[in-house]
């Protein structure tokens, strides 16, 4: 079966996030107030072909911890997607 996942990666709490800080710094130029704690991460969507959902999940977990994130500085969350929750379409 094919399962589509999203892996959301973000800098861990306490890790300096210069990108987040830069975004936050620009908010004043937009005339926006009351926004804080901006953290910039990334989202990776992918389709895994495996025997069942559990096997697919195991593959995506391994990929997320070994390649897509660096556990020293980043956390990740895995979401299983359907057509409605995929940002790019292509849900299995």
């Amino acid at each position: 079966m094919d399962v589509r996942f999203a892996v959301n990666v973000a800098p861990k709490e306490g890790i300096l996030d210069p990108q987040g800080r830069a975004v936050e710094g620009s908010l004043g130029h937009l005339g926006i107030e009351g926004v804080s704690a901006v953290r910039v991460g990334r989202r990776i969507e992918l389709t895994v072909s495996a025997d069942d959902g559990g096997a697919a999940r195991a593959i995506v977990d391994r990929l997320a911890s070994e390649l897509l994130s660096n556990p020293l500085i980043e956390s990740y969350q895995v979401e299983e997607l359907d057509a409605a929750s995929s940002l790019v379409g292509g849900a299995a």
């Binding site: 890790i15 300096l16 210069p18 990108q19 830069a22 390649l67 897509l68 660096n70 020293l72 500085i73």
Partner: protein, 237 residues
């Protein structure tokens, strides 16, 4: 016999020629190691040069970690072989878990390319033994992601175990690295990495030859290991 030092070339490496030159000035014969090759061609040591391996996509150094040549480099290091990573090469070695810590986006967000000074913390390692004294060494940096990070407990352990190899000197920390760390050593003492470029500071005509002591130390240690067959291990201080 001339000491042969492998220079790993990834798509996006751009300091490989500087590495070749630095090694030649230090009396070694550089050997190209293409990222897709598994064999290390019998080299006596490995240098991972600067650049943007695989475009630095995802995170600097991470895609390179899984290349065929890096699996061989990891086995070489496990066997006690000497490995030096410079700039992007340092990032590759941290991503490969051959060195502790991680390199984050520069605190000031900008790419920095300028001369800095770094002080060796130890002169008894395979990478610093030919440096005469603990004084600031001038050499360039050129990177966007050089902010050295590890958690406080890990930093304390690195300091305690003598694994901090270089620090930015005299307020020249260009990237916000914690505790001014510019380069580190693994626990066993045979793998080192640093963000600044000693290989481009090997001749006065290049603006400084302060980096030559590092490259010479590396080459000499490699030659010694080639002769004795013993792993070069300095261990914890």
């Amino acid at each position: 016999m001339t000491t042969r030092v492998g220079v790993v070339i990834f798509p996006g490496s751009n300091r490989d020629i500087d590495a070749f030159n630095g090694l030649r000035v230090a009396g070694a014969e550089p050997v190209e190691l293409w990222h897709e090759q598994v064999s290390l061609d019998g080299v006596d040591a490995v240098l991972i040069p600067g650049g943007f391996a695989y475009g630095d996509y995802l995170r600097a150094g991470v895609i390179a970690r899984f290349s065929p040549v890096m699996r061989s480099v990891a086995a070489f290091a496990d066997d006690g072989g000497l490995v030096l990573g410079i700039c992007n090469g340092f990032q590759v070695l941290t991503e490969a878990h051959l060195l502790p810590g991680a390199l984050l986006r520069n605190r000031g967000l900008r790419f920095v390319g300028r001369q800095v000074a770094i002080t060796p913390e130890r002169l008894d390692t395979p990478f610093t033994r030919r440096i005469d004294e603990r004084r600031p060494l001038r050499m360039p940096v050129a990177h966007g992601e050089g902010c050295y990070f590890a958690d406080e407990a890990s930093l304390d352990a690195l300091e305690r175990d003598g694994q901090v190899l270089f620090r930015y000197a005299g307020g020249s920390n260009p990237n916000g690295s914690l505790r001014d760390i510019a380069g580190v050593l693994n626990a066993r003492g045979n793998v080192a990495g640093l963000m600044p470029h000693p290989e481009t500071a090997v001749e006065a005509v290049l603006g400084s030859d302060d980096g030559l002591g590092i490259i010479r130390s590396f080459v000499e240690s490699a030659a010694e290991r080639a002769t004795s067959g013993e792993p070069v291990v300095v261990g914890a201080r």
